[in-house]
């Protein structure tokens, strides 16, 4: 069951043209909680204190209308940069998968793979080898984490002996696209990895 403050934030999120960014969500939540704490000093009912705080804050429609008129709420710096950062982190893995699939699965455009990865792997350097593998494999994983941190709002705490919390997901269309492509890259890599190593692990082939 959502607390009155979390329900209010959900209402505000749907009333805003482009949704409620993380930064503004946190900012308004902090304000409402501070106001509710203030009322809780004189009012024994926590839920009642939250409702009073919301009433003083203004209806979700009113606040959304004013935000919509002024170009919407501001995003935090991290939220602004998370998507381009994730796209950059995911690109080497994406390129590797495309090149790999074109050459080894479809047997076309071998140069795409050979001219990049073979050149890199051909350099006799263990350190370079590790770096290339880390960028290709860990890049997409880091991209998923970067996007998730910008779009998932999760908070848990124990209050008066009961576990309370908030959970919301707010992704823009671009974020969904980058996340979708990244997850596909990670899944494709995992599939390759298990297809290559699985038979050896279960003893079908020698390794």
């Amino acid at each position: 069951v959502k607390s009155p403050i979390e329900s209010y934030l959900a209402q505000l999120d749907s009333a805003l043209e482009h949704g409620l960014p993380q930064r503004t969500r946190k900012e308004i939540r902090d304000h409402l909680r501070a106001l509710a704490r203030h009322h809780f000093e004189t009012e024994p009912d926590r839920v009642g204190a939250e409702h009073r705080a919301i009433a003083e804050f203004g209806s979700a429609e009113l606040i959304a209308e004013q935000f919509n008129k002024g170009g919407g709420p501001m995003e935090g710096r991290y939220d602004r940069w998370a998507t381009p950062l994730a796209a950059i982190l995911m690109l080497p893995g994406f390129f590797f998968m495309i090149a790999n699939t074109l050459k080894f699965q479809l047997g076309i455009a071998p140069g795409l793979y050979d001219n990049t990865f073979r050149t890199l792997y051909a350099i006799d350097s263990h350190v370079l080898d590790v770096i290339v593998n880390a960028v290709v494999i860990l890049g997409p994983v880091a991209a998923v984490i970067a996007i998730a941190l910008s779009g998932v709002d999760l908070g848990l705490k124990i209050q008066n002996g009961a576990l309370t919390g908030n959970f919301a997901i707010r992704f823009t269309m671009i974020q969904w696209i980058v996340l979708g492509v990244t997850v596909l890259v990670v899944l494709a890599m995992a599939t390759y990895f298990f297809l290559e190593n699985g038979p050896c692990w279960v003893g079908i082939t020698w390794c």
Partner: protein, 107 residues
């Protein structure tokens, strides 16, 4: 005073309050209330659309602060904001004097 009456002036009022001391939204609305002797009693949330408009115009900037033990977003005036405040203050004083002249307060 109804919120409608100060809607057009809220941004100038916020700039003036922030100019004295960087503060978070909750403190800003309290300061507005106190300085106006409770005359400016807006729904508290209306301060955020105004603050975000000011930040988008680069008249203020903001950062998270946890020095009080609680996380707050603190707003501070930028150089551009300080200049804008000076200009708007002068404009307001000129306007206010003109209105007073018409209404006959000076007589």
């Amino acid at each position: 005073m109804r919120g409608e009456a100060i809607k057009g002036h809220l941004e100038l009022l916020l700039l003036a309050v922030i100019a004295d001391k960087p503060a978070h939204g909750y403190a800003l609305i309290e300061e507005l209330r106190q300085r106006s002797h409770e005359a400016f009693d807006l729904p508290e949330g209306t301060v955020y659309p105004a603050l975000h408009r000011l930040e988008r115009s680069q008249l203020i900037n903001s950062r998270w602060d946890t020095s009080s033990g609680r996380r707050r977003r603190i707003y501070a005036l930028t150089r551009r904001g300080r200049k804008a405040l000076a200009v708007q203050r002068e404009e307001w004083r000129g306007f206010s004097a003109a209105v007073s002249g018409v209404l006959g307060d000076a007589r």
